[in-house]
Subunit: 195 residues, 2 copies
């Protein structure tokens, strides 16, 4: 399966496209290969592309004044990644986005995306649906973070994203879950001892 077929298969989960429409949709994207440790977004530069992960893994994070890392999102195959605030408003990014494995992306440029949405009602519907699902996802995340302890948040992550756990470094997962890497290490150890 080519990268574009993979994107099309993904899109067809949300809207039904004819072969011609699918081809047109995919034609707006470009394939980009990046190596582990390479950055695709950096603070102060506007995030000009929305990226779909064909293969590999990414981490987006902020660095605060005191030098601490705070992971905002992980992305693996069939996830989107961007500094969304930078992308949709086309203003400078505040986040870093880095490849944590050698990866392949399909990227669409901001203005091209606007054209695409105008070209076909179905394409607009697609972007509406993924925005709504993303919003629903973040609502669940906010509520869960407000209502659960560090340990419960970790357990929940294990349960919901087992395939992420092996691929992301522990310090990154800890900061995604809002705790220190030392504390996550203790939680893991506490668990291992129990079983």
């Amino acid at each position: 399966m080519t990268s574009k077929d993979q994107l099309i298969a993904y899109v067809q989960n949300f809207v039904t496209l004819t072969p011609e429409e699918a081809e047109q949709f995919a034609s707006y994207f470009e394939e980009v290969r990046v190596r582990k440790r390479q950055f695709i977004v950096q603070p102060n530069f506007t995030n000009k592309h929305r990226s779909f992960v064909i293969k590999g893994a990414f981490r987006s994070y902020a660095v605060t004044d005191d030098g601490q890392d705070h992971t905002v999102q992980f992305a693996i195959e069939n996830w989107w990644v961007s500094d969304f605030n930078s992308y949709i408003y086309q203003h400078p990014a505040t986040l870093f986005i880095v490849a944590i494995e050698d990866s392949i992306l399909l990227q669409i440029e901001y203005n091209k995306e606007q054209e695409l949405k105008q070209a076909n009602h179905k394409f607009e519907t697609f972007f509406r649906i993924i925005a709504e699902k993303g919003l629903a996802f973040e609502h669940r995340r906010i509520l869960f973070n407000l209502t659960h302890s560090a340990e419960a948040r970790y357990e929940n992550f294990l349960l919901n994203f087992p395939n992420f756990v092996q691929r992301v470094p522990q310090y990154a997962l800890a900061s995604y879950l809002g705790m220190t890497t030392e504390f996550l290490s203790r939680i893991r150890n506490r668990k291992a001892r129990k079983s």
Copy 2:
């Protein structure tokens, strides 16, 4: 200005509608009046409407097993309110949504919204834009919550939503910001003493 004019003025911030389109859009909504302390959404019942606040104020919150309240969202004039996960997937709600003032809403029913989006590309665009802006907003919120202390989160809320502060009870604000009402009381007092 009528309720529908208020909705239309809001929508025109995002898409440009002809008078006929505006009229059609508004015709899908119904005006509902609710009194303070009245619930518009409750756990286990599917949230069948998306609500636009014409006048008044609402709070959406979850109650955990140990009986604690956790505020997820506030909404005043020109904000939308729903249990978004319940609404978009049309499955049972987990949140309560209660009026914290006597209020007026414009509500659209789920199936009607789907019709509306199909009827006109511009209407689809409108819902796509508000979902994307909502998503960008929640990203900022998650990042801020991960990176700031209780006091900083309160200061930030004061700065960004000064007009909410006077209208929402303190215990609700505290739980929105992820702290206890006692701790927020202390923060406020500490501040008052300084100035």
